[in-house]
Subunit: 180 residues, 2 copies
DNA sequence: TACAAATCATTTGTGTTAGAATCAACGAAA
DNA sequence: TTTCGTTGATTCTAACACAAATGATTTGTA
Protein backbone atom coordinates (compact mmCIF):
# COMPACT_ATOMS: atom_id res chain seq x y z
CA UNK A 1 0.00 0.00 0.00
CA UNK A 2 0.93 3.60 -0.41
CA UNK A 3 3.20 5.11 2.08
CA UNK A 4 1.63 8.32 3.11
CA UNK A 5 4.35 9.61 5.30
CA UNK A 6 3.02 12.81 6.57
CA UNK A 7 1.34 13.57 9.70
CA UNK A 8 1.13 12.61 13.26
CA UNK A 9 -2.15 11.11 12.30
CA UNK A 10 -0.51 8.29 10.44
CA UNK A 11 1.87 7.74 13.23
CA UNK A 12 -0.97 7.63 15.64
CA UNK A 13 -2.75 5.07 13.55
CA UNK A 14 0.37 2.96 13.36
CA UNK A 15 0.57 3.39 17.06
CA UNK A 16 -2.88 2.02 17.65
CA UNK A 17 -2.26 -1.02 15.54
CA UNK A 18 1.02 -1.62 17.20
CA UNK A 19 -0.35 -1.30 20.67
CA UNK A 20 -3.22 -3.50 19.81
CA UNK A 21 -0.86 -6.18 18.68
CA UNK A 22 1.03 -5.77 21.87
CA UNK A 23 -2.01 -6.06 24.06
CA UNK A 24 -2.99 -9.15 22.17
CA UNK A 25 0.32 -10.68 22.79
CA UNK A 26 0.36 -9.97 26.46
CA UNK A 27 -3.09 -11.15 27.22
CA UNK A 28 -2.64 -14.16 25.07
CA UNK A 29 0.55 -15.10 26.77
CA UNK A 30 -0.89 -14.38 30.12
CA UNK A 31 -3.89 -16.52 29.57
CA UNK A 32 -1.62 -19.25 28.33
CA UNK A 33 0.67 -19.76 31.21
CA UNK A 34 -0.14 -17.57 34.14
CA UNK A 35 -3.64 -18.78 34.39
CA UNK A 36 -2.95 -22.31 35.32
CA UNK A 37 -4.78 -23.16 38.44
CA UNK A 38 -4.72 -26.87 38.95
CA UNK A 39 -2.72 -27.73 35.94
CA UNK A 40 -5.49 -26.26 33.88
CA UNK A 41 -4.97 -23.86 31.03
CA UNK A 42 -6.74 -20.60 30.43
CA UNK A 43 -9.42 -21.79 28.04
CA UNK A 44 -10.07 -24.75 30.28
CA UNK A 45 -10.64 -22.56 33.27
CA UNK A 46 -12.71 -20.26 31.22
CA UNK A 47 -14.95 -23.11 30.15
CA UNK A 48 -15.33 -24.17 33.74
CA UNK A 49 -16.34 -20.71 34.80
CA UNK A 50 -19.04 -20.70 32.22
CA UNK A 51 -20.12 -24.09 33.42
CA UNK A 52 -20.17 -22.92 37.01
CA UNK A 53 -22.60 -20.30 35.92
CA UNK A 54 -24.89 -22.23 33.70
CA UNK A 55 -24.41 -25.95 33.90
CA UNK A 56 -25.83 -28.16 32.67
CA UNK A 57 -25.27 -26.73 29.29
CA UNK A 58 -25.11 -28.15 25.81
CA UNK A 59 -21.82 -28.27 23.98
CA UNK A 60 -23.05 -25.98 21.27
CA UNK A 61 -24.26 -23.41 23.75
CA UNK A 62 -21.02 -23.57 25.63
CA UNK A 63 -19.17 -22.91 22.41
CA UNK A 64 -21.43 -19.98 21.71
CA UNK A 65 -20.78 -18.54 25.11
CA UNK A 66 -17.07 -18.84 24.61
CA UNK A 67 -17.13 -17.47 21.09
CA UNK A 68 -15.46 -20.65 19.98
CA UNK A 69 -16.07 -23.30 17.39
CA UNK A 70 -17.81 -26.41 18.70
CA UNK A 71 -14.96 -28.60 17.58
CA UNK A 72 -12.61 -26.50 19.64
CA UNK A 73 -14.73 -26.90 22.70
CA UNK A 74 -14.87 -30.63 22.23
CA UNK A 75 -11.12 -30.76 22.63
CA UNK A 76 -11.19 -28.63 25.73
CA UNK A 77 -13.92 -30.77 27.20
CA UNK A 78 -11.98 -33.91 26.43
CA UNK A 79 -9.10 -32.67 28.51
CA UNK A 80 -11.29 -31.46 31.32
CA UNK A 81 -13.18 -34.70 31.38
CA UNK A 82 -9.93 -36.57 31.46
CA UNK A 83 -9.04 -34.62 34.57
CA UNK A 84 -12.44 -35.40 36.01
CA UNK A 85 -13.33 -31.74 36.20
CA UNK A 86 -16.41 -32.02 34.07
CA UNK A 87 -18.85 -34.72 33.13
CA UNK A 88 -20.69 -35.28 29.90
CA UNK A 89 -24.12 -36.75 29.75
CA UNK A 90 -26.30 -37.64 26.83
CA UNK A 91 -29.66 -36.01 26.89
CA UNK A 92 -32.59 -38.34 27.15
CA UNK A 93 -35.03 -36.11 25.35
CA UNK A 94 -32.72 -35.56 22.42
CA UNK A 95 -30.08 -38.15 21.91
CA UNK A 96 -27.99 -35.86 19.79
CA UNK A 97 -27.43 -33.50 22.63
CA UNK A 98 -24.68 -33.80 25.17
CA UNK A 99 -24.91 -31.77 28.33
CA UNK A 100 -21.88 -30.84 30.32
CA UNK A 101 -21.61 -30.25 34.04
CA UNK A 102 -18.97 -29.74 36.64
CA UNK A 103 -18.02 -32.62 38.83
CA UNK A 104 -17.57 -32.18 42.56
CA UNK A 105 -13.89 -31.80 41.88
CA UNK A 106 -14.68 -29.30 39.20
CA UNK A 107 -16.73 -27.16 41.53
CA UNK A 108 -13.93 -27.35 44.02
CA UNK A 109 -11.49 -26.15 41.40
CA UNK A 110 -13.65 -23.30 40.30
CA UNK A 111 -14.04 -22.07 43.82
CA UNK A 112 -10.30 -21.85 44.08
CA UNK A 113 -9.91 -19.90 40.90
CA UNK A 114 -9.25 -16.30 41.72
CA UNK A 115 -9.63 -13.90 38.93
CA UNK A 116 -7.65 -15.55 36.28
CA UNK A 117 -6.30 -13.74 33.33
CA UNK A 118 -8.34 -10.72 33.89
CA UNK A 119 -6.79 -10.24 37.26
CA UNK A 120 -3.81 -8.45 35.90
CA UNK A 121 -5.75 -6.20 33.68
CA UNK A 122 -8.48 -5.80 36.21
CA UNK A 123 -6.16 -4.58 38.88
CA UNK A 124 -4.51 -2.22 36.49
CA UNK A 125 -7.80 -0.81 35.45
CA UNK A 126 -8.88 -0.37 39.02
CA UNK A 127 -5.87 1.76 39.66
CA UNK A 128 -6.68 4.15 36.89
CA UNK A 129 -8.14 7.50 37.62
CA UNK A 130 -11.69 8.05 36.54
CA UNK A 131 -10.55 10.11 33.67
CA UNK A 132 -8.00 7.60 32.48
CA UNK A 133 -10.47 4.81 32.76
CA UNK A 134 -12.91 6.71 30.67
CA UNK A 135 -10.34 7.37 28.03
CA UNK A 136 -9.43 3.72 27.91
CA UNK A 137 -13.00 2.67 27.75
CA UNK A 138 -13.70 5.17 25.06
CA UNK A 139 -10.81 3.99 22.97
CA UNK A 140 -11.85 0.39 23.12
CA UNK A 141 -15.41 1.26 22.37
CA UNK A 142 -14.17 3.08 19.35
CA UNK A 143 -12.33 0.04 18.12
CA UNK A 144 -15.29 -2.19 18.66
CA UNK A 145 -17.34 0.32 16.83
CA UNK A 146 -15.05 0.19 13.88
CA UNK A 147 -15.05 -3.55 13.82
CA UNK A 148 -18.67 -3.76 14.77
CA UNK A 149 -19.80 -1.98 11.71
CA UNK A 150 -18.19 -4.70 9.71
CA UNK A 151 -19.89 -7.50 11.47
CA UNK A 152 -19.07 -7.76 15.12
CA UNK A 153 -21.70 -9.39 17.22
CA UNK A 154 -23.54 -7.51 19.90
CA UNK A 155 -22.65 -7.63 23.54
CA UNK A 156 -24.29 -10.75 24.39
CA UNK A 157 -22.85 -13.37 26.57
CA UNK A 158 -26.26 -14.82 26.63
CA UNK A 159 -27.92 -14.06 23.40
CA UNK A 160 -28.54 -17.10 21.32
CA UNK A 161 -27.92 -15.35 18.06
CA UNK A 162 -24.37 -14.59 18.89
CA UNK A 163 -23.08 -17.39 16.88
CA UNK A 164 -24.98 -16.37 13.84
CA UNK A 165 -23.32 -13.01 13.73
CA UNK A 166 -19.94 -14.31 14.64
CA UNK A 167 -19.95 -16.70 11.81
CA UNK A 168 -20.03 -13.89 9.34
CA UNK A 169 -17.36 -11.72 10.73
CA UNK A 170 -14.94 -12.47 8.04
CA UNK A 171 -17.37 -11.91 5.28
CA UNK A 172 -18.70 -8.44 5.75
CA UNK A 173 -19.94 -8.43 2.22
CA UNK A 174 -22.84 -10.54 3.28
CA UNK A 175 -23.93 -8.01 5.78
CA UNK A 176 -26.68 -5.77 4.78
CA UNK A 177 -25.75 -2.63 6.49
CA UNK A 178 -28.45 -2.76 9.04
CA UNK A 179 -26.85 -1.80 12.18
CA UNK A 180 -27.02 0.64 14.91
CA UNK B 1 -14.89 -5.15 52.31
CA UNK B 2 -14.24 -2.44 49.89
CA UNK B 3 -15.61 -4.52 47.12
CA UNK B 4 -18.53 -2.40 46.28
CA UNK B 5 -19.72 -3.55 42.92
CA UNK B 6 -21.97 -1.86 40.49
CA UNK B 7 -20.64 1.59 40.48
CA UNK B 8 -20.31 3.23 37.18
CA UNK B 9 -16.66 2.53 37.46
CA UNK B 10 -17.08 -1.19 37.76
CA UNK B 11 -19.35 -1.26 34.82
CA UNK B 12 -16.84 0.67 32.85
CA UNK B 13 -14.13 -1.79 33.77
CA UNK B 14 -16.29 -4.69 32.80
CA UNK B 15 -16.91 -2.84 29.62
CA UNK B 16 -13.25 -2.55 28.84
CA UNK B 17 -12.63 -6.22 29.41
CA UNK B 18 -15.61 -7.13 27.38
CA UNK B 19 -14.68 -4.95 24.48
CA UNK B 20 -11.18 -6.20 24.59
CA UNK B 21 -12.35 -9.73 24.32
CA UNK B 22 -14.48 -8.75 21.44
CA UNK B 23 -11.72 -7.04 19.58
CA UNK B 24 -9.52 -10.04 20.13
CA UNK B 25 -12.00 -12.38 18.66
CA UNK B 26 -12.58 -10.38 15.54
CA UNK B 27 -9.02 -9.60 14.77
CA UNK B 28 -7.92 -13.08 15.56
CA UNK B 29 -10.46 -14.62 13.32
CA UNK B 30 -9.80 -12.12 10.67
CA UNK B 31 -6.11 -12.73 10.67
CA UNK B 32 -6.66 -16.44 10.60
CA UNK B 33 -8.92 -16.90 7.70
CA UNK B 34 -9.45 -13.82 5.69
CA UNK B 35 -5.86 -13.01 5.25
CA UNK B 36 -4.98 -15.75 2.89
CA UNK B 37 -3.29 -14.35 -0.11
CA UNK B 38 -1.72 -17.10 -2.13
CA UNK B 39 -2.73 -19.95 0.05
CA UNK B 40 -0.77 -18.34 2.82
CA UNK B 41 -2.06 -17.77 6.30
CA UNK B 42 -1.96 -14.59 8.30
CA UNK B 43 1.15 -15.31 10.31
CA UNK B 44 2.91 -16.47 7.19
CA UNK B 45 2.13 -13.27 5.38
CA UNK B 46 3.11 -11.30 8.41
CA UNK B 47 6.47 -12.99 8.50
CA UNK B 48 6.98 -12.26 4.85
CA UNK B 49 6.19 -8.63 5.33
CA UNK B 50 8.81 -8.40 8.00
CA UNK B 51 11.20 -10.15 5.68
CA UNK B 52 10.39 -7.78 2.87
CA UNK B 53 11.44 -5.01 5.15
CA UNK B 54 14.57 -6.40 6.64
CA UNK B 55 15.81 -9.51 4.96
CA UNK B 56 18.18 -11.13 5.39
CA UNK B 57 17.32 -11.57 9.00
CA UNK B 58 18.13 -14.14 11.63
CA UNK B 59 15.43 -16.44 12.91
CA UNK B 60 15.71 -15.08 16.40
CA UNK B 61 15.37 -11.52 15.25
CA UNK B 62 12.42 -12.40 13.11
CA UNK B 63 10.77 -13.96 16.11
CA UNK B 64 11.45 -10.86 18.13
CA UNK B 65 9.97 -8.67 15.50
CA UNK B 66 6.86 -10.80 15.43
CA UNK B 67 6.59 -11.04 19.19
CA UNK B 68 6.64 -14.79 18.77
CA UNK B 69 8.59 -17.65 20.21
CA UNK B 70 11.45 -18.82 17.99
CA UNK B 71 10.09 -22.32 17.83
CA UNK B 72 6.85 -20.95 16.49
CA UNK B 73 8.66 -19.07 13.79
CA UNK B 74 10.52 -22.18 12.79
CA UNK B 75 7.25 -23.83 11.95
CA UNK B 76 6.07 -20.88 9.96
CA UNK B 77 9.34 -20.77 8.09
CA UNK B 78 9.13 -24.46 7.35
CA UNK B 79 5.82 -23.94 5.63
CA UNK B 80 6.95 -20.88 3.77
CA UNK B 81 10.09 -22.62 2.64
CA UNK B 82 8.04 -25.53 1.49
CA UNK B 83 6.10 -23.13 -0.66
CA UNK B 84 9.33 -21.66 -1.93
CA UNK B 85 8.42 -18.25 -0.59
CA UNK B 86 11.49 -17.93 1.59
CA UNK B 87 14.98 -19.36 1.66
CA UNK B 88 17.13 -20.25 4.62
CA UNK B 89 20.83 -19.93 4.55
CA UNK B 90 23.42 -20.82 7.12
CA UNK B 91 25.65 -17.96 8.02
CA UNK B 92 29.30 -18.38 7.23
CA UNK B 93 30.58 -16.18 9.98
CA UNK B 94 28.55 -17.92 12.65
CA UNK B 95 27.46 -21.40 11.83
CA UNK B 96 24.78 -21.34 14.43
CA UNK B 97 22.74 -18.66 12.79
CA UNK B 98 20.37 -19.11 9.92
CA UNK B 99 19.39 -16.14 7.85
CA UNK B 100 16.10 -15.99 6.08
CA UNK B 101 15.28 -14.18 2.88
CA UNK B 102 12.48 -13.94 0.41
CA UNK B 103 12.76 -15.82 -2.82
CA UNK B 104 11.84 -14.20 -6.10
CA UNK B 105 8.48 -15.82 -5.75
CA UNK B 106 8.26 -14.51 -2.23
CA UNK B 107 8.90 -10.96 -3.31
CA UNK B 108 6.29 -11.39 -5.96
CA UNK B 109 3.81 -12.56 -3.35
CA UNK B 110 4.52 -9.73 -0.99
CA UNK B 111 4.02 -7.17 -3.69
CA UNK B 112 0.55 -8.56 -4.24
CA UNK B 113 -0.42 -8.47 -0.61
CA UNK B 114 -2.65 -5.55 0.03
CA UNK B 115 -3.24 -4.58 3.55
CA UNK B 116 -4.25 -7.77 5.14
CA UNK B 117 -5.92 -7.96 8.48
CA UNK B 118 -5.06 -4.48 9.37
CA UNK B 119 -6.95 -3.22 6.41
CA UNK B 120 -10.27 -3.34 8.13
CA UNK B 121 -9.05 -1.66 11.23
CA UNK B 122 -6.86 0.67 9.32
CA UNK B 123 -9.65 2.02 7.21
CA UNK B 124 -11.81 2.46 10.23
CA UNK B 125 -9.13 4.37 12.02
CA UNK B 126 -8.57 6.59 9.06
CA UNK B 127 -12.17 7.63 9.18
CA UNK B 128 -11.97 8.74 12.75
CA UNK B 129 -11.81 12.36 13.63
CA UNK B 130 -8.58 13.60 15.09
CA UNK B 131 -10.11 13.71 18.49
CA UNK B 132 -11.53 10.23 18.32
CA UNK B 133 -8.30 8.87 17.05
CA UNK B 134 -6.48 10.41 19.93
CA UNK B 135 -8.89 8.96 22.40
CA UNK B 136 -8.49 5.54 20.91
CA UNK B 137 -4.78 5.82 20.86
CA UNK B 138 -4.75 7.01 24.42
CA UNK B 139 -6.88 4.14 25.60
CA UNK B 140 -4.68 1.55 24.01
CA UNK B 141 -1.58 3.17 25.33
CA UNK B 142 -3.11 3.01 28.75
CA UNK B 143 -3.70 -0.69 28.42
CA UNK B 144 -0.22 -1.34 27.21
CA UNK B 145 1.04 0.68 30.09
CA UNK B 146 -0.87 -1.39 32.56
CA UNK B 147 0.30 -4.61 31.08
CA UNK B 148 3.78 -3.40 30.49
CA UNK B 149 4.39 -2.42 34.03
CA UNK B 150 2.82 -5.44 35.55
CA UNK B 151 4.00 -8.36 33.66
CA UNK B 152 4.94 -7.99 30.15
CA UNK B 153 8.60 -8.31 29.63
CA UNK B 154 9.02 -9.87 26.27
CA UNK B 155 8.08 -7.43 23.61
CA UNK B 156 11.39 -5.94 23.92
CA UNK B 157 11.22 -3.47 21.20
CA UNK B 158 14.88 -3.61 21.06
CA UNK B 159 14.90 -3.62 17.36
CA UNK B 160 14.90 -0.10 16.08
CA UNK B 161 12.25 -0.63 13.51
CA UNK B 162 9.75 -2.16 15.80
CA UNK B 163 9.33 0.73 18.07
CA UNK B 164 9.92 3.29 15.44
CA UNK B 165 6.33 4.31 15.55
CA UNK B 166 5.83 3.37 19.12
CA UNK B 167 8.15 5.48 21.06
CA UNK B 168 7.86 5.71 24.73
CA UNK B 169 5.06 3.43 25.59
CA UNK B 170 6.38 1.48 28.44
CA UNK B 171 10.03 2.10 28.30
CA UNK B 172 11.24 -1.37 29.11
CA UNK B 173 14.75 -0.31 28.52
CA UNK B 174 15.03 0.42 32.17
CA UNK B 175 14.34 -3.11 33.10
CA UNK B 176 17.04 -5.67 32.90
CA UNK B 177 15.23 -8.29 30.94
CA UNK B 178 14.28 -10.79 33.49
CA UNK B 179 12.51 -13.27 31.43
CA UNK B 180 11.30 -16.64 32.21
C1' DT C 1 44.80 -25.59 25.08
C1' DA C 2 40.93 -27.16 27.58
C1' DC C 3 36.64 -26.56 29.22
C1' DA C 4 32.60 -24.30 30.93
C1' DA C 5 28.96 -21.10 29.64
C1' DA C 6 26.17 -18.84 26.44
C1' DT C 7 23.85 -18.62 21.93
C1' DC C 8 21.16 -20.23 18.04
C1' DA C 9 18.15 -23.03 15.51
C1' DT C 10 15.64 -26.89 15.84
C1' DT C 11 12.94 -30.90 17.77
C1' DT C 12 9.54 -32.66 20.88
C1' DG C 13 5.37 -32.45 23.49
C1' DT C 14 1.07 -30.27 24.79
C1' DG C 15 -2.65 -27.34 23.91
C1' DT C 16 -5.62 -24.08 21.30
C1' DT C 17 -8.18 -22.96 17.17
C1' DA C 18 -10.95 -23.61 12.97
C1' DG C 19 -13.02 -25.98 8.88
C1' DA C 20 -14.52 -30.19 6.49
C1' DA C 21 -16.32 -34.51 6.77
C1' DT C 22 -18.80 -38.05 9.39
C1' DC C 23 -22.35 -40.22 12.04
C1' DA C 24 -26.42 -40.45 14.79
C1' DA C 25 -30.71 -38.66 15.74
C1' DC C 26 -34.55 -35.52 15.25
C1' DG C 27 -38.48 -33.46 12.52
C1' DA C 28 -41.28 -32.70 8.76
C1' DA C 29 -43.31 -34.09 4.56
C1' DA C 30 -44.81 -37.33 1.04
C1' DT D 1 -43.52 -45.49 6.99
C1' DT D 2 -40.05 -43.89 4.31
C1' DT D 3 -37.51 -40.17 2.81
C1' DC D 4 -35.09 -35.87 3.17
C1' DG D 5 -33.12 -31.99 5.28
C1' DT D 6 -31.35 -30.37 9.55
C1' DT D 7 -29.11 -30.37 13.87
C1' DG D 8 -25.56 -31.83 17.35
C1' DA D 9 -21.43 -33.78 18.62
C1' DT D 10 -17.48 -35.71 17.14
C1' DT D 11 -13.24 -36.86 14.31
C1' DC D 12 -9.69 -35.53 11.13
C1' DT D 13 -6.43 -32.39 9.25
C1' DA D 14 -3.70 -28.32 9.41
C1' DA D 15 -1.87 -24.35 11.52
C1' DC D 16 -0.45 -21.71 15.37
C1' DA D 17 1.81 -21.00 19.92
C1' DC D 18 4.83 -21.91 23.72
C1' DA D 19 8.12 -24.35 26.92
C1' DA D 20 11.62 -27.53 27.51
C1' DA D 21 15.11 -30.22 25.77
C1' DT D 22 18.77 -31.18 22.01
C1' DG D 23 22.67 -30.51 19.23
C1' DA D 24 25.87 -27.62 17.09
C1' DT D 25 28.67 -23.78 17.55
C1' DT D 26 30.76 -19.80 19.45
C1' DT D 27 32.67 -17.21 23.25
C1' DG D 28 34.71 -16.58 27.67
C1' DT D 29 37.93 -18.04 31.01
C1' DA D 30 41.46 -20.44 33.40
Amino acid sequence: MKEMPSTRRDMEIADVLDNLRRVFKVVHRYSKRAEKVGGLTGPQVWAMKVLAESAPIRVTDLARRMYLHPSTVVGILDRLEHHAQVARRRSRQDHRVVTVSLTAKGRETVSKVPEIAQGLLLNGLKDLSDKDLQTTSEGLRRLVGILGVEGMPPPLLLSPEVNASVGEIDDPAKRTGENG
